[in-house]
């Protein structure tokens, strides 16, 4: 099993969610995060004092999936989240040792 983690632009979240539903992904966890990579932040001015705000708001999407599905999930996210400009985000895949569904106690692939 794999954990697919994606950092995307907040306004692309609807597109990413739609694309993942299309390929049959049934659930995901989403959180609001802040960070920066090559895209720098912005400046704000208060009574003439300029502050640079380095961190840019982003959305983190996390999906646990079967090994076989992982590439399709990554592809769907990358295709749907792309605007072609700096700051589109990143997607990475990490191995997951075990998963348990809290309600039933099912383990492994059955719990995905």
């Amino acid at each position: 099993m794999k954990l697919v983690t994606a950092i995307v632009k907040p306004f692309m979240l609807e597109d990413v969610k739609g694309a993942l539903e299309q390929i049959g992904v049934l659930g995901m966890t989403v959180s609001e995060v802040q960070g920066y990579g090559r895209q720098k932040g912005h400046t704000e001015v208060y009574r003439g004092a300029e502050y640079s705000v380095d961190f840019v708001p982003k959305v983190r999407v996390e999906i646990v999936t079967d090994d076989t599905q992982a590439d399709k999930v990554v592809e769907a996210i990358v295709e749907s989240a792309r605007t072609g400009k700096i700051g589109d985000g990143k997607v990475w895949v990490s191995p997951v040792e075990t998963i348990v569904r809290v309600r039933t106690g099912e383990r492994g692939s059955d719990a995905v």
Binding site: E44, V45, R47, G48
Partner: protein, 466 residues
């Protein structure tokens, strides 16, 4: 004989000016960080409570009692306000010598007492912006008591107490009667006074941790604009109410208050547009306050076009002067100096240029420079402005140092970082956490008397019985 129209307007004006202090609290409160908002609101609100009591005990008497010493301070005949009941103020009650200004008819003394109380409340409240985010609350309360007693009450006597106004043959303060400087509603006694004390306290307390390197952004700009709007509304009581009559002069003051504030907003935003490329909400709110401050002393002495000019100058100059603190490295956190001291000086001095007896024939002073009056009035304005500025600065510095070296004026660095609301008031302004009550360990102690102080009992053991 009581003039009922005038009395009604002065009572309504007192209520309007009362609203300015909570308005100021939100203007300031929005500019601090979310972890200090309650402390900022409280520093302002406590002034209503403290000054309301002091004013009754001796404040009004020291300001408006018959002069006790060289035009510097009033006597104690009105202490406790007992002798104001059934007493009138104004020329008709006190007989000759006639009072040319304020108005000619009699007001019940207590309407005037309450109107002037609200000025005494907001003046120390204005100072709090200079020392936001880092002041021990009890030390602040002590400062308010001492500064009002030693500075505000006497200075109100200097500026606002006219010969013959509060009693037959009573004598007032030196700025109003001997110097004959003009200050319609408090450019000197309120704004220069507070701005100068704010500067002194910013020096006594020192910079906030991390200033100016770290981001100390306003946490709620809608509060700032809301507060500025409440100030603008209340300021009609402050300025038009200072005519002490429902009269032509009140209409003049109301008009000038409006147009100067409008042009000051434009002046501040123009500076921002040219210098920073964007007009800001904080700039609009600050411009409005700068205009209100500057027109305060002048609103009963200038024409509406003069009012527009004063507002425009104040908006632009204050917008530029708020950056001075970065150059000299003093943390006047919310720009009490840049807005109130500078704005107060601009308005007080510009009377020497734009003041005209065409607008106010009863004015005690002379025409300004632009109306052929020469430099006489400008000189008087400058003496009044710098006298108040110097006195307030020196006394605030001394009181501040005494508090600093006895009970301490500043919270611990650790408390400053974690948040002054929690450290000084055991409260949080906002609960944004979805976890809500789960983030606390439940009701630790229900205080029915005696027992532990709140905040001391934040142990993780949950319910704790004595």
């Amino acid at each position: 004989m009581i003039n009922t129209g005038d009395t009604a307007w002065v009572l309504a004006g007192a209520a309007l000016v009362m609203l300015m202090t909570p308005g100021l609290a939100f203007f300031y409160g929005g500019m601090v960080r979310s972890k200090s908002v309650l402390n900022m609101l409280m520093m302002n609100f406590i002034c209503l409570a403290i000054i309301g009591v002091l004013w009754t005990l001796y404040g009004y008497s020291w300001a408006f009692g018959n002069d006790a010493f060289g035009g510097l301070v009033g006597g104690d005949e009105f202490a406790g306000l007992g002798k104001t009941i059934g007493h009138m103020v104004g020329a008709a009650a006190s007989g000759p010598p006639p009072v040319p200004w304020p108005g000619p008819d009699a007001l019940p003394a207590l309407a005037f007492v309450m109107f002037q109380l609200m000025f005494a409340v907001i003046t120390p409240a204005l100072i709090s912006g200079a020392i936001a985010d880092r002041t021990k609350f009890l030390s602040w309360a002590l400062f308010v008591i001492l500064w009002a007693t030693i500075v505000y009450f006497p200075v109100a006597h200097w500026v606002f107490s006219f010969d013959g106004f509060t009693g037959v043959n009573s004598h007032g303060g030196w700025i109003a009667n001997t110097l004959k400087a003009e200050d319609f509603a408090g450019g000197t006694a309120v704004h220069i006074n507070a701005g100068s004390a704010g500067f002194a306290l910013a020096l006594v307390l020192g910079r906030r941790k991390g200033w100016p390197r770290d981001h100390i952004r306003p946490h709620n700009l809608p509060f700032v604009l809301l507060g500025a709007s409440l100030l603008w509304f209340g300021w009609y009581g402050f300025n038009a109410g200072s005519a002490l009559s429902a009269s032509d002069l009140a209409g003049v003051a109301f008009t000038n208050t409006t147009v100067a504030t409008c042009s000051a907003v434009l002046g501040w935003l123009l500076v921002e547009q040219l210098r920073d490329g964007k007009p800001t909400t904080l700039g609009a709110a600050s411009g409005a306050v700068a205009g209100l401050v500057a027109i305060t002393p002048a609103c009963g002495f200038v024409s509406p076009l003069g009012g527009i000019a004063i507002g425009l100058i104040a908006g632009a100059v204050c917008a530029l002067s708020v950056s001075v603190k970065y150059k000299f490295g003093f943390d006047d956190s919310l720009d009490v100096v840049g807005v109130h001291l500078v704005g107060g000086l601009i308005g007080t001095l510009l009377i020497g240029f734009f003041g005209t007896k065409n607008v106010n024939p009863a004015a005690l002073g002379d025409d300004g420079l632009f109306y052929g009056g020469g430099l006489t009035q400008l000189g008087r304005q400058a003496i009044a402005a710098f006298a108040v500025m110097g006195y307030s600065f020196l006394v605030a510095l001394v009181i501040g140092m005494v508090i600093k070296h006895t009970i301490g004026f500043r919270v611990d660095p650790e408390e400053e970082t974690s948040g002054i609301d929690e450290a000084e008031h055991a409260e949080s302004g906002y609960d944004f956490s979805a976890l809500g009550a789960m983030a606390t360990s439940g009701l630790a102690h229900y205080n029915l008397g005696g027992a532990d102080k709140v905040g001391a009992a934040t142990s993780s053991t949950g319910a704790k019985e004595d």
